[in-house]
């Protein structure tokens, strides 16, 4: 039995033995109960309808979650560039930008900001040795990103690269069975091939991958856990090493691994290991709570223009949470209590996704920027 199999067995046993978290701990430890996971998932799916609950394989259902709410999934999340193609330089290190969770324009409130590094970075396709081989040799296109952009705009039928018709790397095994006679030639009137070049250029040069992203509940770590299944621009599943191109260098091969997906019998997927999720989430929640509370005080004490911005931010933040949770949790009779508590647990997954977005920076997971 391989080391991995033993390890997997160990995890299974450990998972089986660990008790289900019953007590709400999310503010103290960053961990959540299954009930809170469901509540946060409901909120996420309500607010961002691209997320939906899945039942998964019935044989793998976890009894502490409702049968129809085993895990969350969103499909076809775009990933325009490879994380490995983001070139980091010292200059980028200096380009740190404070990100604010509050509404844009609530100036001067430093507490609820966090640091986004490399905000000024530009993708440099050429900087990454890993992806060059995937870029087709498009004759007649200028080198470099700007040339490519222009090239896309100018592509016409005649520009179909002759080299692109050579076999791509992973199709060696496909039996040679091209059947040109299959399609009638007189579809010229609506020739789809005329559209092809744009797609080829868009797909290969920008390499728009898509990801199916799943969020499960990890019983042992008592946090959500993220799973990724990627597809290349042609719709083929990505290999593990290809997926790692979309993981920031700090995390690839360390916290991001490939493991059996818990709600399927055979499927494996790339996952961010949840061992640090709770502590990171705790820090983020603390920071946001402090920000929200301070913002509220700031807003009530000040009528200056910047105060108005803060007030708007707060209203949006708390109002949205309250609207959704109203039916599920006993509503605090006093709204002021809500406010001073800071973040509600329903918001957990939205925040969690922001955190995950830092690990997979080029996967456009964070559709929640509207907040």
């Amino acid at each position: 039995m391989s080391l991995h199999a033993i390890q997997a067995q160990y995890w299974a046993v450990r998972d089986y033995l660990s008790p289900v978290l019953r007590e709400s701990k999310f503010k103290e430890h960053g961990r959540i109960t299954p009930e809170e996971f469901v509540a946060a998932g409901d909120f996420l799916a309500y607010k961002f309808p691209t997320w939906a609950w899945e039942t998964g394989d019935a044989a793998k259902a976890r009894d502490f979650l409702p049968p129809d709410k085993q895990y969350l999934i969103t499909r076809r999340v775009a990933c325009l560039r490879r994380a490995t193609s983001l070139a980091y330089t010292d200059a980028d290190e200096d380009a740190e930008k404070m990100l604010s969770f509050a509404e844009e324009g609530s100036a001067g409130d430093k507490e609820d900001e966090w640091v986004q590094t490399h905000s000024g970075r530009k993708a440099s396709e050429a900087a990454s040795p890993g992806i060059i081989e995937d870029i087709p040799d498009l004759d007649g296109l200028a080198e470099g990103p700007s040339g490519i952009d222009q090239g896309i705009g100018n592509l016409r039928l005649g520009d179909i690269p002759s080299t692109a018709s050579e076999a791509p790397p992973n199709l060696d095994d496909i039996p040679d069975m091209e059947e040109e006679g299959l399609e009638e030639a007189d579809d010229a009137g609506q020739a789809p091939v005329k559209i092809e070049p744009v797609q080829v250029a868009k797909g290969n040069l920008l390499q728009v991958r898509t990801y199916d992203v799943m969020i499960t509940y990890d019983k042992y770590y008592q946090t959500p856990r993220i799973w990724l299944i990627g597809f290349d621009e042609a719709g083929n599943p990505l290999t593990q090493s290809q997926v790692f191109q979309d993981v920031s260098a700090d995390h690839a091969f360390k916290t991001v691994t490939i493991e059996p997906f818990p709600h399927s019998t055979r499927l494996s997927a790339v996952s961010v290991h949840p061992c640090k999720h709770a502590s990171v989430m705790k820090k983020v929640i603390e920071r946001m709570n402090a920000g929200v509370v301070e913002q509220r005080q700031h807003a009530s004490n000040s009528s200056s223009p910047s105060g108005k911005g803060g007030e708007a931010g707060k209203k949006k933040w708390l109002g949205v949470v309250r609207k959704v949770t109203g039916g599920e949790k006993p509503q605090s009779p006093n709204n002021a209590d809500d406010d001073s508590d800071g973040m509600r647990v329903d918001f957990y997954l939205v925040v969690f996704l922001k955190f995950i977005a830092s690990i997979v920076p080029t996967i456009e997971l964070d559709s929640t920027t509207a907040f």
């Binding site: 309808p49 007189d186 609506q190």
Partner: protein
């Protein structure tokens, strides 16, 4: 006038589907090579804002087959914003059979089915119009799956043409009010039981005295548009294309259906025109625009000189592989499924 060009459909096969296939192959189908019904889904094309350049990157929606593809269609829920497409699945037992299969015959029989549904008076063809074919060979020992999709679409002769000004944003002519009313009504015109799914095809007409629109399923064309002049009739479909000047593949069969209806019912409402002109709404707003975004749906006036081919037109639609050839594709799942490969990676 320029000829309407349709963005070809492409497919995405979820690895979970291959798992389902293994199960079906080993436990249900065994050595039989009978065709099975299969369910897939597609949604509206999207555009993604590139945070680095600020450009909008169009992203077509693929027809995706998921884990529940072999479930009966009643039990299948389209993912949010998607619609269901029904297909025919045929697995071959050996690579030789797969290679030598009479693909044209399979394709033609499916096209015939679609045509029958189009030409049967009173039939609701909405499910037939987006039917597809999937042939596979599963190399279970190596976790390799050879597959080929076909999306039969009828060729119109003469071709449909689009007005000189091309496809324009629908919101400029229908206004936000009109768009919202269509979006709302589509919710009540579900293609399946899933509350968040979208209908694949629909009709829309203006409500007299307001800026809003009524929608109806396509098989009610003759009654729904009875008193409506052609200039106000809107034919809509959920558009998997995100291309600004090229609607998605499902429109082809929808146009064939409408053209056939027009020809077979010459007595309907207004004087039958020589040139059939239709407003086509490429619906790409399964999510309401938020945060100052624009509506994405396109509207265009397409026309076509009526002819009278009462026999089945020829159809096209085999999916091309990633280099644009008419050839099958390969999905190699060994890295994700093969226990020995997984063990190597896990060290």
């Amino acid at each position: 006038m320029p000829v309407v060009q349709f963005t070809p459909f492409s497919s995405t096969v979820s690895p979970a589907f291959w798992h389902a296939l293994i199960k079906v192959k080993l436990e249900v189908q065994k050595l039989s090579a009978d065709a099975l019904p299969i369910v897939a889904s597609y949604s509206a094309g999207r555009s993604i804002k590139d945070r680095e350049t600020g450009a909008d990157i169009p992203l077509n929606s693929n027809l995706s087959v998921l884990e529940d593809a072999f479930h009966p269609k009643e039990q299948t829920q389209a993912p949010p914003g998607s619609t269901i497409a029904l297909g025919q699945f045929k697995n071959f037992n050996t690579i030789e059979e797969f290679k030598e299969a009479d693909k044209q015959a399979l394709f033609n029989s499916l096209a015939e089915e679609i045509w029958t549904s189009i030409t049967t008076p009173g039939d609701d063809p909405s499910e037939a119009l987006s039917r597809f074919l999937l042939i596979t060979f599963a190399d279970l020992k190596k976790y390799k799956f050879y597959y080929w999709f076909a999306f039969p679409a009828f060729i119109a002769k003469p071709s449909w043409e689009i007005r000189e000004n091309g496809w324009a944003l629908a919101s400029t002519s229908l206004q936000a009010v009109g768009m919202e009313s269509i979006s709302e009504s589509l919710g009540s015109l579900k293609s399946s039981k899933s509350s968040k799914s979208q209908p694949s095809f629909f009709l829309a007409r203006p409500v007299a005295g307001s800026q809003t629109y009524d929608v109806a399923p396509i098989h009610t064309y003759l009654t729904f548009f009875k008193e409506i002049p052609y200039s106000q009739r809107i034919i809509g479909f959920l558009d998997p294309s995100s291309h600004p000047q090229s609607p998605g593949w499902p429109l082809r069969n929808l146009l064939s259906y409408i053209a056939h209806l027009e020809q077979s019912e010459p007595a309907n409402s207004l004087a039958h025109p020589d040139t059939l002109s239709l407003n086509v709404l490429c619906w790409r707003d399964s999510e309401l625009p938020r945060g100052g975004q624009d509506w994405k749906s396109l509207l265009g006036v397409v026309s076509h000189v009526s002819s009278a081919p009462m026999h089945r037109p020829s159809a096209v639609g085999w999916e091309r592989n990633s280099v644009g050839k008419l050839a099958p594709r390969l999905s190699d799942l060994a890295p994700m499924m093969d226990p020995s490969r997984l063990a190597e990676q896990a060290v």
